[in-house]
Assembly symmetry: D2
């Protein structure tokens, strides 16, 4: 008898997160009950009692959870944790809540490096000038151009995304420092990154990647005074969530010519057509496209299959990220996530 | 008595190629006779007889060379070899011709990676659409987006520039193959690059970097049939010289939607205002700005100082690239070089 | 009021696991109650109620645990888990059991590489021959010598120790495959290691590092038939626990000349003076010294301090390894561990 | 008509330096005249006039050279340059002298790392004690043991061998400094090595690799005062030639317990049976076996084939090392080389 999965992956779908061959494996190894977010409670006790895995994050109030006596894990493929389950009970029962957001780290890091190199070398504005017939040739067009090789790079946050950024920088022999209050310094050093305070990272870097998640505690923590302490002409690359910066202050810092910036995220998405960042010089824009690649989505399915396989064999899941008692409640990114 | 340098670095200048402190060291260790390109022959025999190094590449016909009995090296800071010296006589006398073009490898490789990532992720056109208020958000805007990590990368040419490109790719875990008929396969393998034929490189790569120098033998060797054999949607990044490709064929291959491309070099520079590449979709343009950074120029001075120091001590120069008997005559890039 | 630590690190001591400065920090930030293993139960309720961390692994039966209402973590600095606590209750209450055995990975990996290189190049027997005046010079002395660079390396197990071995091999451009049934293949691939079955690892490798922990399920799983399937002349390096191999079979495989081997661990420790492995040619011996370096011990203290700091701040510990529900019960290494 | 090779590779042979398949290729592409070292002059003019390559280094006096009008290169497979050719004339005519000694770098570097790790961890003496039944277990046996990871490593010399040592150290995250008066500092920095003076290297390193060639200028340049300035307990690994050190002073420094050492080379080879280094504690001995591996010899043939192929095609050889005017005369290693 195959183990039972309760599948409710909205707003994603099985088609989005599984390749054809992975979906075949899924159906080969498991029975699936596919239901909408609000139809779970209506399932008969006999079905609920058998559910080993929940795929998605439908609302599961305590009384519903109590009926799911075989549950081993909630495989949350949306990467945010909605406050629609009693996480404490899950932890107590040893039921894992697993998230797949790590799939976005690689694509986001790659476009982050594209942003940084583009800003340092004026790639976007250079191309636009060329289209318009007002390009400057050679040396003359390079007055502000700088190398990344050997530069000082700062990371704000050193989770999956910070590590991925650090990895794509490997060929550049940069000196990387990182600020991450959730990590002990030795973890940073193991990655050959220098632990630093926020001010050090901001004042000492030629390029700053902001890759910190939003929590209840750090909303808008990067403000005018922080941008002011950055080096003249340094580049600020915002890759995680708009919520961690005072976006107007960022716009002002770029507008004044003090720094350059790129961003994939915005206080409102979609952004109003008259928003000043649309025409801002020295600012490189991307419409929340950094992570949402098909190839990333498909990796979610692979991760889910690998971790269910471990759990089926009585082992600890370790491919997905495990929600933790301490931080589950702190994560605040809005439900409209990457994708 | 300090050794004598004949300085004639046009079209560059001492100010361009030396930092202030390097220029100080230069004048501290050497006497300089600074002359225009055509004033060398007019120098008195007593001066010419003492010249240890020529800095630049003024015309030096055989009879002039015969008067320079102490000459050890011509330090060519322009990176092309003009046919204005009897190279055979230089080789015979053991006088080195040293070029400093390697300084461009790193900046060119960096912008090359910027081009590749921008094409794969639509960074430039994405920003333009955003400015115009017609951006697509998230997944929807990523229909053609692809990752570089794990991709197959092809290099056409594996000299200084090919190696620099290979280095900035380190963090991406790509599979790199290279075609370079001037190099034995084991040299490529030492750099963890797979030696391959030209067709293999073109048919098997998601991104192709063209970093081959122009010689008398390879002008226009990349033609319509070569672009046709590239993978649908692959990116062709032209970083060395326009002379190696049939530029109209490249434009056609991009225009038809078969491939994407970026280029820093053009058949004519500056390019006519009505040239079709200016508006071509899927093509990223840069106005011969890839190498001409101030920091690169300044490294020329450092290299020159290091190699003169070695030669002053009776050692072999090894910082600059040495012109070789076999290839000196083959190099054909036009005098208007990077910068 | 400083948080309270119940300190009972036997068989280690605070002096062994903390540097002077770390011990100072420990006493600066915490109050310590230092007791012997069997004195915990005798502590007054008022003390037990305040204990935030247990340092060591004294017996803590359920009724004792019930009296420790503030307990957040057991910091087990011995690296084995003794069955002297109700782990289920700990998991249920969200009390972490943290182990520090990862400190041994680096020293063990280093000596493991020393063993491998010594076997491939006959370093130990070569030196002994030299001492005895019967050394063979040059080419003649190298009949069995082989390079590690470019070789095929197999890892049995890919936990902390396997990863450390993989790291010290970085400079050798080896092809590494690994067998680890507790890990999904993608984790191996992320480390640029090829996932493989046990037979593949054994038959396809020039050097095999055995770095698997002993569990209730894998005792003696490497037997005569496994050594027989290894390549003629290959090297088997045993670094984890003698319990995973049939030691007599290993001795026989080396004695017959089929393979070379090195080991740091033995079925009995200390080993009887007349044990046949003592004189065995082709076998390199080390007396359980691979991990027990002072510098490794001192890192335990640092790890403990870093994780307590995270927990003090309401964050998840992540420096030490966390015991897991699924595997806590399976680990079987004997209490006399590294050190 | 195939090009003609004059083959006289003594003291090596074609069988030693070519694999079977490489030797097949050799005979497929070239005609060979195989002669003893002293039979060259006796060859008829018609043969000499056709010789394109000399394989080996038979004596070629000026008058003999004059008869070899088609000669392009002397492929010296012994790796020393004997003073038996008029090198000046060769340079003047643009005839390359190419040496294949680089093949030894990798095997020597590997055993060098084996020596270093063995000394730091007492592998050899530990095994001997174990054989004798007086081994110390665990922590007790590790009183002098140290890690290489994170240590400071010094290189004396940074040619092919120094670079190979630097490469095998990659996984250890060591800080490497190097002293090489023949190289400009920027070359070292390109390899992520810190340029340093000799004293700095000696006083600041935990492990010193001596990989400098002997020249007329540096014989015995490492003396008692140099070993005295090394750190207490540091390891000195001699890999290049005994001629660069005062060997008695090295023995004394180890004998006094100040440093540890390993050596592959000796002032006399073979070494007298009563030489004091044979029994010296803290000294690891190898009988000039570091480079002389069959696999290294066979690479010579591959290099020779690759460079002849380039020259056949009118290109510059670049696989073998080219003898240079400045240094050809300075190299002094004795004819009895590695192998």
């Amino acid at each position: 008898m195959k183990p039972l999965i309760l599948s409710s992956p909205e707003p994603r779908s099985l088609e989005i997160i599984f390749t054809d061959s992975a979906r075949e494996r899924l159906f080969e190894k498991y029975r699936l009950v596919e239901v909408g977010q609000n139809e779970v409670a209506a399932l008969p006790d006999s079905v609920l009692a058998e559910v080993r895995y929940v795929l998605g994050q439908p609302p599961i109030p305590a009384e519903l959870l109590a009926r799911m006596g075989s549950l081993r894990a909630v495989l949350n493929v949306e990467s945010n944790l909605l406050p629609n389950m009693p996480y404490d009970l899950l932890f107590q029962r040893g039921i894992y809540t697993l998230t797949t957001g790590a799939v976005f780290a690689e694509p986001v890091a790659e476009i982050g490096l594209a942003f940084a190199l583009s800003l340092l070398r004026d790639v976007v504005e250079g191309d636009q000038a060329f289209q318009a017939g007002r390009e400057l040739w050679g040396f003359e067009g390079n007055q502000r151009a700088r190398l990344l090789t050997g530069a000082k790079v700062g990371l704000i946050g050193f989770g999956d995304l910070g590590r991925a950024v650090n990895r794509v920088l490997e060929g550049f022999r940069v000196q990387v420092s990182a600020y991450d209050p959730w990590l002990p310094p030795s973890v940073l050093r193991d990655h050959r990154v220098t632990p630093a305070g926020l001010e050090e990272v901001l004042t000492g870097s030629d390029v700053v990647f902001c890759v910190a998640s939003v929590t209840g505690e750090n909303e808008g923590f990067l403000q005018a005074r922080h941008f002011a302490m950055m080096r003249q002409g340094a580049a600020f690359i915002l890759l995680s969530r708009a919520g961690v910066v005072d976006f107007d202050a960022l716009i002002a810092a770029v507008g004044s010519g003090h720094i350059l910036a790129a961003s994939d995220v915005y206080p409102q998405e979609p952004l109003p057509l008259d928003h000043p960042v649309r025409k801002l010089k020295g600012f490189l824009r991307s419409a929340h496209r950094a992570g949402a690649l098909d190839v990333a989505m498909k990796r979610m399915g692979d991760m889910v299959l690998e971790d269910m396989d471990l759990m089926d064999r009585g082992l600890t899941p370790l491919r997905c990220k495990r929600a933790e008692r301490e931080t589950a409640a702190k994560m605040r990114s809005k439900p409209v996530d990457k994708t």
